[in-house]
Assembly symmetry: C2
Homo-oligomer: 344 residues x 2
């Protein structure tokens, strides 16, 4: 079983996922793109080559599971970094804190077509994928061992994708990650001081300054953040204050699908189909607090959900790893201009 | 001029270095290895193709600057992310904080030979390079605008190296980076509570557990940290408590050179010459506090300097960027065993 370990100096956890371990000779610095035409476990007809499915959309209820006929399909990751069965069993040993690698690791297969692209998806396809995100969040929130659920997408080998067939991933963690907790804490402190959402205030200022706003529509704002770590980094925020992605209305969800698709298309046209990561940042599930001092206890109403899109154009090097300080060679204002000019 | 910007939610700064800006067509996802045999500005004979040198070792004092005869040479980075001339001029605009991109960005050319390798360096060569590190730290600490100096090395294109000729880099910043400040704060809090160095306590426990100790010698401990973010991550700590790299004795510096070289050779043999980053983590310079509320004021005696070595074997993907939570597929205990077995 994998193990969660806390850094003895700072509050940063890592997953030591030894089930995924490789021999030293398996590491090399060249690209590991799977060959075109190789066997794909996510293509229709190969349903028996994934672990048994967790959910699917498109197939009639009467049809047998793990058969064809689906349009979106959720399966456990075959090489999960965390496993479902067992207890956390948190322990301390001198300076060290660790616990069992309990959690979930799922794959959302987004389309039957191996060569389908998120940029170019139909509104119906987008709606079904975002519906799958909501469904998995709602389901996994019921597991009381879990404290945070992250849904993300890696597109292109440079961005960490190891299978070419279009898919997103879900990882549910027994710990709120440091980087998320810092944002939750900052939002709470700001709210306690000002009785306003810090993200809403940033959005108001961005809307008045305009030079980092890529587009707006009735329900969403797309911008390149003021202190972007990476060139052409984008964020999609709901205009309406909301801490929780799953509370979107049908109308908002339809518009988010179109907004996300159109902005991935902007990046694709502007940057010649770059590798990218995107991830959904939403409030952690509510948890009862007894006996869990680190628990949030209440719902983080003062948070504001968003989607972060990070094109992978620059290499992260010693300076960034050593300091956490990032060098961005393209100002977000310049990136905004270029993205606005894309023919979408 | 580049600009330093603070994230409006959390305490993370970035450098928007637009002088380095590229057109969208300059970005692509393929490797950017400079062609073999291309012109190298760091090779002897091309001294006039770098900005005027800042320091050199090996050439007699009477010889003209920027001529051949050096063995280690320090020059300003031709495309600096921060510039030396000017005032910080820190400003606020609503939710946003920013200041001018003032600092230093230097290159330490480590050897005259283009194909020289750090792994395999002689004790004399190592001693001269580490001497250059000390010299630059001592020099840059005198600039009162600067709060933190990071010395790092990128080896291999995957690790961010853009020029093949062996070199380290120095970046001096007007702000203590968040990731460094967290460690300084943690060390201070621990010291105030226990009157002991937290790093010394971790080292004592690692020495008693033994399973992550790669090697020890009279003055240094080399280990793979308990909560390593990356496979085969290494740290080199001085056994003697010391917050400041520049306070090493001659004997310690000679032994550090041999220890660093030998462990880079371990990685090279075990992992087939992997790309890597290493960085020196040492206490920030002492600063007078008047008018600078964020100043440290006193020397961080409770810190413990070290060198971090990060082989770049895994890709960082959406999960890591979205959470700051890392997945390491090789346990540090297993990495330690493999590295101990290397024929060095």
């Amino acid at each position: 079983m994998s193990e969660l370990r806390k850094d003895p100096i700072i509050d940063r956890w890592v997953i030591i996922a030894t089930e995924r371990s490789r021999r030293p000779s398996d590491f090399n610095s060249s690209e590991n793109q799977p060959p075109t035409g190789a066997f794909c476990p996510f293509c229709p007809g190969n349903e028996n080559r994934t672990p048994p499915e967790i959910a699917q959309w498109g197939r009639p209820a009467a049809a047998p599971p793990d058969s064809t006929g689906w349009s979106v399909r959720v399966v456990p990751n075959k090489f999960p970094v965390l496993q479902n069965e067992g207890d956390l069993n948190p322990q301390g040993l001198g300076m060290f804190d660790f616990m069992n690698g309990i959690g979930r690791h799922e794959v959302i297969i987004e389309n039957t077509r191996h060569d389908w692209d998120f940029a170019g998806a139909t509104p119906f396809e987008m709606r079904e994928i975002l519906g799958a995100y909501t469904s998995r969040l709602n389901e996994l929130r019921r597991d009381e061992r879990l404290r945070y659920i992250v849904i993300f997408r890696n597109s292109g080998t440079t961005a960490g994708a190891t299978l070419a067939h279009p898919h997103s991933q879900v990882i549910a963690l027994p710990i709120i990650p440091k980087q998320v907790k810092e944002q939750l804490d900052a939002a709470r402190e700001y709210y306690e001081r000002k009785s306003r959402c810090v993200f809403c205030d940033v959005l108001r200022q961005e809307m008045s300054m305009k030079d980092r706003i890529v587009e707006t529509n009735e329900h969403f704002i797309v911008l390149s953040p003021f202190a972007a770590r990476f060139p052409f980094e984008l964020q999609i925020y709901p205009r309406r204050h909301s801490h929780d992605f799953t509370l979107m209305t049908e109308e908002e969800a339809a518009m988010l699908g179109e907004t996300l698709e159109r902005n991935l298309r902007r990046l694709k046209r502007t940057l010649n189909d770059p590798p990218y990561n995107f991830m959904l940042q939403t409030a952690p599930p509510q948890r009862p607090s007894p006996g869990r001092p680190e628990s949030w206890g209440t719902i983080a109403y003062d948070y504001h959900w968003r989607i972060d899109i990070l094109p992978r154009l620059t290499r992260v090097a010693g300076f960034e790893w050593g300091t956490g300080f990032y060098i961005n060679p393209v100002s977000p204002e310049h990136a905004t201009q270029l993205l606005q000019g894309a023919d979408v």
